[in-house]
Point group: C2
Chain length 452, copies 2
């Protein structure tokens, strides 16, 4: 009884213009020593110009392993490989030689590149360039050199069969500059790319399958409305307690001449989507919940403070991660210990004694007390049991009370979050932001709008 | 003039027991919507048991693309693929079917798994399991099911030729539990793996190349001391402002019978390493700085509070991320706005007016005021310019003042951090923890010890 799923065309049989592999090179990636943030950046940049990343690969600093991946890509009809790393001066920087091997050409020293390199080292204040750096003037024969004004490693582009291989340094800021200034313009020109329309509906508090069920009918009906909407692509991004629904104009692997939904056609689904996703939906677009809360509160002149227990400052950190947060975010109190709840937030000791620190009355008193102590317009309070210890049968780990007060009216919610300590802390802060958002909506100063 | 490089044996020709590919599945990875943290975790775990990750691949939610990667791995003689993601209930969760295609078997519904699934949903408080979840009881024929006690998606293992394919849910905490409890033990048993001894020296405040220079002589001399130390592998993990030096008993791609350094041989380098890495070194082992600070302060009965401006709660969040933090962490004040610095931390308005919020006198006053306001033993204060706005020629973005006070004696440091807002905020909190650590060392209640 296999689940029914669409059978998709094989990549190999029908390569379409704009299909890209990302290849990151480095033992440190395979050892788990660092996150591969270059792949994330390159994927975002490709998407923005309408190029489709169909695979990312990380390989070790080995000539044969690097070359093998590039030959695979070329033999499958992939249009471009963006390669990151292995252009440095040390003995484990082998990408140039590996690409030459894959392309079946020699490595040659470029005299003009060597002059530029030596000039850079003089500008860096060296009397003599270290000998080991000389190899950074070596390129595969026939390569087109890509300038690197902020580092010693220039990049290059060579073709392996029909596949353009772009080789860039792994240092993130050098890679980023070379990508946007040298690589993307070449891809846009080569493939006459156009951006794929994309619409994101952001939801907090419904699970992924519940969200999928809620919009099932809308999607099915939309597919009958136009040839464009018929080919739109629906996917989900989930991070407890949030789910985003992503509609894209056309599935990335559709036929090149597939019509695809326009941005306007996708936007025409807004009303139905918002209706189906209440009360969890808070926005449309890339901007996250903290960004929206900060934006709406700042625009309305509403000042915010936090009164945090089990999150220990995580909610304040989420707010202050937004550039310009100081326009609304005042600060607050971390009352991890009950004494701070009493002394700085004015929670009555008797309420703590009677109900315990994780209780509706304490959450409400913290929120109200935070307003009083600071004079802010809204205070959001969190008190709960993040675990792994501290749970009881009535209040297991993941029991969290959240409250928002303007000093007189206080709203409240009890959460039951499943997950480890980090999940409980992160999810609590996100839920608290949603409660603030709902208060801003109730005040008429926030609404579900599309933000880039 | 090709650069001289060792020509390495081809992976295909000589597969060695313990070679692994990591395969993460999900359109969100290829779109740059999320970082692939699962690969990083899996790579670390494989390394810990002595298995060698030679390639990581991310592919889209497409049956043919997932199946293709697994067939490639099997045809190259890779011993195991650890696959993450695509086991959820939605229509774009296609990993089970793709693995069945790659293995050439049918997908079958497992009656016992369906019962377990329904029981989980009852335990989660659902009256009826959503229909879409039924497919989570489907497995490739002949698969060995891997339990998932904390989520709905059970994993499974099937063989494709000689390659063991382990399929796990993409939810990080579920993947982590399944990896350590179900997958790693099977690999260790199958391949008779032995753990590679490993020693991590943790340093804050020296750059990667400075650290490398400081230990160069120690490493060179160690290699002459024994056949084991001669083959040890040295690498670095850097995340501003921290660098860790990782010594491993033997390089991952050494001959299977290479002797390798023992744990005792690596530990014999401690004294020289500590000496070379002063004053930045704070510990040996996996435990991070916050964990060490919480551990030492709790054991010594020292209570800690925070007084944060530009980090907005991030330092408190870092402390409270440690399980059991409440044994020493009391809470504190987020004085994002100057008014809070005055009202709750007692910073004199005149000091703010004269020196500005980002200044040594204000940092010192915040730290001292935090002790006074809360009665805690130590208060750590942070005030700075996280950017992107707010910088001036004298105090550019990344200027951060950090101070630690016990109410009478206050230590202070000015930081100049290069990077974006998130980097400045994260690095500031880490530097602040280091200042606390140094105070605990000075008090005689903390020391550089090896912690697991």
């Amino acid at each position: 009884m296999p689940p029914k799923s669409p059978v998709l065309p094989r990549t190999k049989a029908a390569p379409s213009s704009g299909q890209v592999w990302l290849v990151t090179v480095g033992d440190e990636l395979l050892a788990g020593d660092i996150h591969d943030t270059n792949s994330t950046f390159l994927a975002q940049q490709c998407r923005a110009i309408g190029a489709t990343v169909i695979r990312t690969v990380s390989v070790r600093d080995r000539i044969d392993e690097i070359a093998e991946v590039l030959r695979e890509a070329a033999s499958r009809g992939v249009c471009a490989c963006l390669v990151s790393g292995g252009l440095g001066p040390t003995t484990d920087d082998l990408t140039t030689e590996a690409i030459a091997v894959a392309a079946g050409v020699e490595v040659r020293r470029d005299a003009a590149a060597l002059e530029r390199l030596e000039a850079k080292f003089r500008a860096f204040g060296y009397d003599n360039m270290p000998l080991s750096n000389i190899k950074q003037a070596d390129f595969p024969q026939g390569a087109e050199i890509l300038a690197n004004p902020i580092g010693s490693a220039e990049g290059f582009m060579v073709r392996i069969d029909g596949c353009r291989v772009f080789s860039m340094p792994g240092v993130p800021r050098e890679l980023r500059k070379m990508t946007t200034e040298q690589v993307l313009p070449r891809l846009v020109e080569a493939w006459a790319l156009r951006e794929v329309p994309r619409r994101i509906y952001r939801v907090l508090g419904h699970g992924e399958s519940a969200v999928a069920q809620r919009i099932e009918g809308i999607v099915a009906s939309a597919r009958t409305q136009s040839p464009g909407l018929a080919t739109m692509f629906v996917h989900y991004r989930a991070a407890t307690p949030q789910v985003s629904i992503i509609l894209e104009g056309v599935a990335a692997d559709s036929e090149p001449d597939a019509k695809g939904a326009t941005a306007d056609e996708l936007a025409s689904l807004d009303a139905a989507m918002i209706d189906a996703l209440q009360p969890g939906i808070y926005g449309i677009g890339e901007a996250d919940l903290a960004t929206r809360v900060v934006g709406a509160a700042s625009a309305a002149g509403v000042s915010l403070v936090v009164a945090e227990s089990c999150t220990g400052g995580g909610l304040g950190a989420a707010l202050s991660a937004v550039p310009g947060a100081s326009a609304c975010f005042v600060g607050g109190v971390v009352g991890y210990n009950n004494r701070i709840k009493v002394e700085l937030l004015g929670v009555p000791q008797s309420v703590l004694d009677e109900h315990g620190a994780v209780s509706e009355p304490v959450a409400r008193a913290m929120a109200k007390g935070g307003c009083v102590a600071t004079g802010a317009d809204l205070c959001v309070a969190i008190t709960g049991i993040a675990g792994p210890g501290g749970g009881t049968p009535e209040k297991p780990v993941g029991t969290v009370d959240v409250a928002v007060s303007d000093g007189s009216e206080t709203t409240y919610k009890r959460l039951k979050i499943r997950g480890d300590r980090a999940t409980v802390q992160r999810a609590s802060a996100q839920w608290a932001l949603k409660l603030v958002w709902d208060r801003l909506v109730a005040k008429g100063v926030a609404s579900i709008v599309s933000l880039p």
